[in-house]
Symmetry: C2
Subunit: 94 residues, 2 copies
């Protein structure tokens, strides 16, 4: 088989750019959640919601032909960063 490696790499770089944009959008939304949680004194970690998210991502990954363990590792990193942001937000004086 033959592929044009530079074109393929350009496609990969474009996907990475979209990933970054999506993640930035996600953190904008979760920042609002963090402010809400702070104001209403809701704990940053919600184990039930996390379990539902991880189960959902596992199913979505399977359907998309992606490794479920890999997808869960990505979501774990995203959730951990979100919780860390929410904890920082809570510690700031309002």
């Amino acid at each position: 088989m033959n592929i044009d490696l530079s074109t393929v790499r350009q496609n990969i770089d474009e996907i990475d750019e979209q990933l970054i944009r999506l993640l930035a959008k996600r953190f904008e939304i979760t920042h609002q959640v963090g402010l809400y949680k702070k104001e209403h004194n809701v704990p940053p970690v919600d184990p039930e919601r996390e379990a539902r998210q991880l189960a959902r991502i596992e199913k979505l990954a399977q359907d998309a032909g992606l490794s479920p363990d890999f997808a869960k590792a990505i979501l774990r990193l995203v959730i951990d960063e979100t919780v860390a942001n929410h904890k920082r937000l809570r510690e700031q004086s309002s």
Copy 2:
């Protein structure tokens, strides 16, 4: 401030679904790269390409208001999974 937590969580879940779809697309493309690398006996790991990708993602994250360290951790996970897939592919008899 007041937000509708269930609507916000639905928005987050939609972003996660888009993330999974993008990642699945990325691994479809890198699978083609893996087949090419195997056939042409190109090593699975390309440190120079990786360094360029990480530097690029750092810049993209900064521009998007996303933590550069977080973005690099995500890309690290994606690259490690890609390299693991390429190594598996290489070990399979063609």
